[in-house]
Homo-oligomer: 238 residues x 2
């Protein structure tokens, strides 16, 4: 059996009881090296199979092989198990007889937004700016659509060492619909050493340098700052 486990943000507090139980009962832990490192100290004696970035397929295949050999496997993902995680690839590679359970976790949109205030109070859209597996044209189409729907937007993978221009291009699209002083924010290293969060305007975000550990929240036309925190009112008449 394989549990695809969303670990939530960082190293522990954001993890659910179900995720914790799936790790505890597993015979083998499988995952990206950096995420295995987050949980390794809790389970120093469990066998692990970890690979570097882009080793997703190898991880899923090893998880399936181990499960078919009778092992109970925890295939771990940061945040949620599905959202930009491994659950879909595992299902895609699985056969009908494979026993797979998806254990959801707190995805970065939620944990980043919580550090920033309460910007995700209602309807929102999550968009990854990584064009590794989604054509950039599709990403642009989704940015336009999310802007037209006045969604609060959570941007995943806004930038990396190799992809340095996507956040600026995304902000330029959003600036066609939203004012330059739209309230935005980012959070990085959530739940880990070095956790940071800050608010800024959409114009400032366009020029911002962030990294692959960062999640960005872009307010909609109702989002404002209250005592330095992002707030999208729910619509109660106060």
């Amino acid at each position: 059996m394989i549990d695809v486990v969303g670990l939530g943000p960082g190293a522990g507090g954001g993890r659910t009881a179900d995720a914790q139980a799936a790790l505890a009962v597993a015979d083998v832990l499988v995952g990206y090296t950096a995420y295995i490192a987050l949980i390794r100290t809790e389970y120093p004696d469990k066998p692990v199979f970890d690979t570097a970035m882009r080793g997703e397929r190898a991880r899923c295949e090893e998880a399936l092989r181990l499960s078919r050999a009778g092992k109970r496997v925890a295939l771990v993902c940061s945040g949620d198990a599905q959202v930009y995680g491994m659950a879909a690839l595992l299902l895609e590679l699985s056969q009908e007889t494979d026993d797979i359970r998806v254990v959801p976790g707190v995805t970065a949109a939620l944990s980043a937004a919580a550090l920033l205030g309460a910007p995700l109070s209602g309807d929102f859209a999550a968009i990854s700016l990584s064009d590794l597996m989604t054509p950039w044209e599709m990403i642009e189409r989704r940015l336009h659509a999310a802007a037209q729907g006045d969604f609060v937007i959570a941007l995943y993978n806004p930038m990396s060492r190799k992809r340095t221009d996507q956040l600026r291009r995304a902000c330029e699209i959003l600036l066609q619909y939203r004012s330059a002083d739209t309230v935005c924010g980012w959070a990085r290293m959530i739940g880990r050493e070095g956790e940071q969060a800050r608010t800024l305007t959409l114009a400032e975000l366009r020029e911002a340098q962030v990294d692959m550990f960062t999640t960005v929240i872009i307010g909609n036309s109702s989002t404002r700052l209250r005592f330095g925190r992002m707030l999208t009112p729910r619509g109660y008449a106060l």
Copy 2:
């Protein structure tokens, strides 16, 4: 101090360690009666302040009053603390001196989707069909936008005893963009007695009778069924 706590789905397994700790340390638990009932047995001796639906403002004001009187308060929400939850209203009613922390939780889009397979593997939009606080025109605009962006869509509050027509109207909008056999699913009573999940087509969803305990997932143009489960491929070349 007030912790606005996302309890995650149902009665325990989906709750994070941070949420659990916030409940344990609280002097008073504040929330909607049905959510307080979910945690009451764990903390039988803690004082509670609970109100029925639509008592949101009273709950926030009582939480603020108690906090200003020196109590540590856990203001509980089902799922996440922000997403269709109480964090935004609390921030809106707060003063600068109020000490408020938002503790995120697994929102129903994630927990429903996990029961259905892995439909939320990538970009997605969350939309509530309740027009109690959002004008129906805005909801329609968001449905059009999400469809145009080919987002997988999570629908919250698809139907209630009084609102019986919104899901049908939403499906009719989506059918302007997506085929009648688009893979959809719903889950209800997640993590609770009576948990159910099923997949169905968009045409079938238009005629479906669901309730206020249900979350609906609507696949995009890539979503398909694999061994009876929803799968939106991530885009790996297999």
